[in-house]
Symmetry: C2
Subunit: 478 residues, 2 copies
């Protein structure tokens, strides 16, 4: 670990991010352009997030399956908007087994095309519906300007793909999964998010509606944290997926798809980190408690480590992810800084005098003074302590977002405000894509979301002065 | 579900396999040659296997991480044997983002090359060792003749990659993970396996030793169920990975890699299935208990389903994976056949008279007569019942393997025996690769494994008559 100070967030947030990702050993660039190596400390955050999502997918009746990585180009091309959206980003396999392929194969940028061409075989009657499926996989969207976790060519995610007999059921499913995403973002990653709907210009290629959850990072920029799409009958029509409904009529099926990706490891870093490094929500922290034994002699060392091991095993028995840092080559101060950098929620220090007094010194990564705590109290109270830290991170992020959400009083106030202060800016919009594009071009802010249901703002568009038809949240975003 | 009978195993095992995979809805071919769609019932078997492996990897000190899918061709080429082994099977990306790439990228056939080129940055001193890492991912090895689960171009697996300070430690690690594989194969998939060592000709490209676990399928053919490689310093030398040892000397690191793949879903099908379909070990069965309510009137139906639901919820509370099949469009006999085909270990039938008598009728997929069982007894005894089925499947497969393992008394007896009876054939081998190749060419059998430690057979090679140096197990294999 480098012992230089991190760049401060307020001075240079992008540099802070790059250094934290590197020094906390979360990820690094791979050899091919746009690729990323996810290191164990970063991958474990994703694993805990996966588990939280997967449990909820299953509880809401979904099953996992797996579709192939490679999609024949001709198949990808059947839904016009979809292919137009993804064509510029596709990676293409032209050779296999030493020979040129008859038809080039795309590495999936998303799997609607291969899945809906298959659903054609799986769906005959209304009795086959709904199909509630999900897959965990890697996808590839070519990127030249990459940022670890946030924007890489290959990324890890899950993509849910469901088929339904009615439009209402499909919309309900899309919103149900949006709620699952909100729950995981807020309750697991401790990132407060707002549920919304994208404007037409920001929709997923091929979607009728794209719903999203959107959060605010500590540099006042917005981050899209998950999207859930109502696809209407677009893919069913492109891939000719019909079913016999209960009235004996052939009908095209209704679709949703929804995705949550490992970019949220990046979101977790940026929503909570501070100038000392990561601050990880206990629910996803690879290590929740680190115990640092402190001793000056071999004799002290044996006794202190013995007690540290006993505490470790009692915490582990409660399902706490705990580690004793007994490395001899580093001094305690070095270890404290390293575990702060890596975002471990609770640090327990234990020296010979603590052992004698049957107590430990506890420091929480979220702040407050160090405290002397009886060993029994530490053990009995560890769950409550971790939950308290989880809540504190959420509350702090929520307060931050609220302090950085502004009502638009005039276009001029918005344009200067979004440039100087950042954050979310809420105001009336006319619904015109050209007006939206002009604002975006002038301010570098985009509509992050509209309300789930269109909402009359009761006033005129902040930019063009035409009647407002919806309330938009604008922000500069990742 | 088709109601035709399956082909029988004894008449046409390959046809039986194809039909079971299709009708039990485990998998199907994807649109690109060599690709596979894993359906929910097949994927869930893999998920349970993954969990069993992953828990054991973590318990033995390993952490997960993730390396990129695409590997620059020049990087792949640095370990000579490795690239020679994989070059004919590589799929190549030549275009990305609408442009031809400066350097073509291989889709990983295995990740030693990209991982060891990275370990160069992660390993400086003996204090950095060991590295005990694993990744769950997809890999690609171009195949023209595919068989679902057993041989497809893309497949899902885990690959462990560890680095050590000494040769002994690396060998110990390779054997430790082989033991983990044995445990999962036997205790989870109920497939008896033998641990062994591959002959030089069957080694992984770039390995010093390849250890394996090998099982026998119900058509008397062998299946390699997992491999663990001691890579010596081959990759450290190819990618220049050195470390400062405790004596202050620069040394190349020692390596292992080990892999277990979703082909074992195929192994589970072939090790246990019978003419009625799958027989799934409870440890990996997506549904462990199916409850089929039987009724003739609406009134009966409501009462029977009410009781079925109560039983379901009491079993689910014990962590049993249980489902009530209350589909109205199918008759009980159809449902019985479907769940037998899909391999559900325990079927519970429940009609109005059973409800009145507070009992159910229980049928186990592994056989025996149907039995009337009091509801309370079913619920209290479900764990023991499932464990009994798990043990019965293992015992049956073990007895089958023992009955199909033969001592070689002469080359002629072996050659005709392996052709007519199949199974494992054990006998003395001279250690000569040319002799091995000649036998393989004449009999279509290969050396499946040698003992972990070379073992003097005390007799001459069954084929060439030279002194025997090791005991080989031969078989025809997948």
């Amino acid at each position: 670990m480098s012992t230089n100070k991190l760049p401060s967030q307020s001075e240079d947030f992008p540099a802070w991010y790059v250094e934290v990702v590197k020094r906390a050993e979360l990820a690094e660039h791979g050899p091919a352009k746009g690729s990323m190596i996810i290191k164990p400390h970063g991958y474990a955050i994703w694993e805990h997030t996966q588990r939280a999502l997967d449990d909820r997918f299953k509880a809401t009746g979904h099953e996992n399956l797996y579709f192939p990585l490679l999609i024949p180009m001709s198949l990808l091309g059947k839904e016009a908007d979809h292919v137009e959206g993804f064509a510029p980003q596709v990676a293409v396999v032209t050779h296999g087994g030493g020979q040129e392929l008859e038809e080039p194969l795309a590495i999936r940028p998303s799997s609607e095309s291969i899945i809906w061409s298959t659903y054609k075989r799986w769906i005959q009657s209304y009795r086959d519906l709904p199909l509630l499926y999900n897959q965990w996989c890697n996808v590839m969207r070519w990127e030249m300007r990459t940022r670890l976790f946030l924007r890489t060519s290959e990324f890890l995610w899950q993509e849910g793909h469901t088929a339904h007999a009615t439009s209402d059921e499909a919309v309900e499913e899309a919103l149900r999964m949006l709620e699952v995403y909100r729950e995981v973002a807020e309750d697991v990653l401790a990132i407060p998010v707002i549920k919304g709907r994208k404007s037409a210009g920001e929709r997923f290629p091929g979607a009728v509606e794209t719903y999203c959850i959107e959060g605010l990072m500590r540099d006042t920029k917005a981050l899209q944290c998950g999207t859930s799409h109502f696809l209407g009958q677009n893919f069913a029509k492109a891939y000719d997926v019909t079913f016999l409904n209960a009235d004996g009529q052939q009908e095209h099926a209704w679709a949703t798809s929804w995705g949550f990706s490992a970019r949220m490891v990046g979101g977790t870093i940026m929503a909570h980190g501070d100038d000392a490094g990561l601050r990880l929500p206990p629910a996803v922290a690879p290590i929740q408690v680190v115990i640092v034994p402190i001793s000056r002699s071999e004799e002290e060392r044996a006794s202190v480590i013995g007690v540290a091991e006993r505490i470790r095993s009692e915490l582990a028995a409660q399902g706490v992810r705990v580690r004793v840092d007994d490395r001899e080559q580093h001094r305690p101060g070095y270890k404290f800084a390293e575990w702060e950098l890596k975002g471990v929620p609770v640090r327990v220090e234990l020296g010979p005098r603590d052992v004698a007094a049957d107590r430990v010194v506890v420091a929480e990564r979220t702040g407050g003074d160090k405290a002397e705590v009886p060993v029994a109290e530490l053990i009995a109270g560890i769950r409550a302590r971790l939950e308290g830290i989880q809540r504190a991170l959420y509350a702090e992020a929520l307060a931050y977002r609220e302090a950085n959400t502004h009502e638009i009083t005039s276009y001029a106030a918005f344009a200067s405000g979004v440039a100087e202060q950042g954050g979310f800016w809420r105001g009336a919009w006319c619904g015109d894509a050209a007006c939206e594009a002009e604002i975006a071009q002038r301010t570098k802010a985009t509509i992050r979301f509209l309300p789930i249901e269109p909402t009359d703002p009761g006033t005129t568009c902040m930019h063009c002065g035409k009647p407002g038809v919806d309330v938009a949240h604008w922000a500069r975003a990742y």
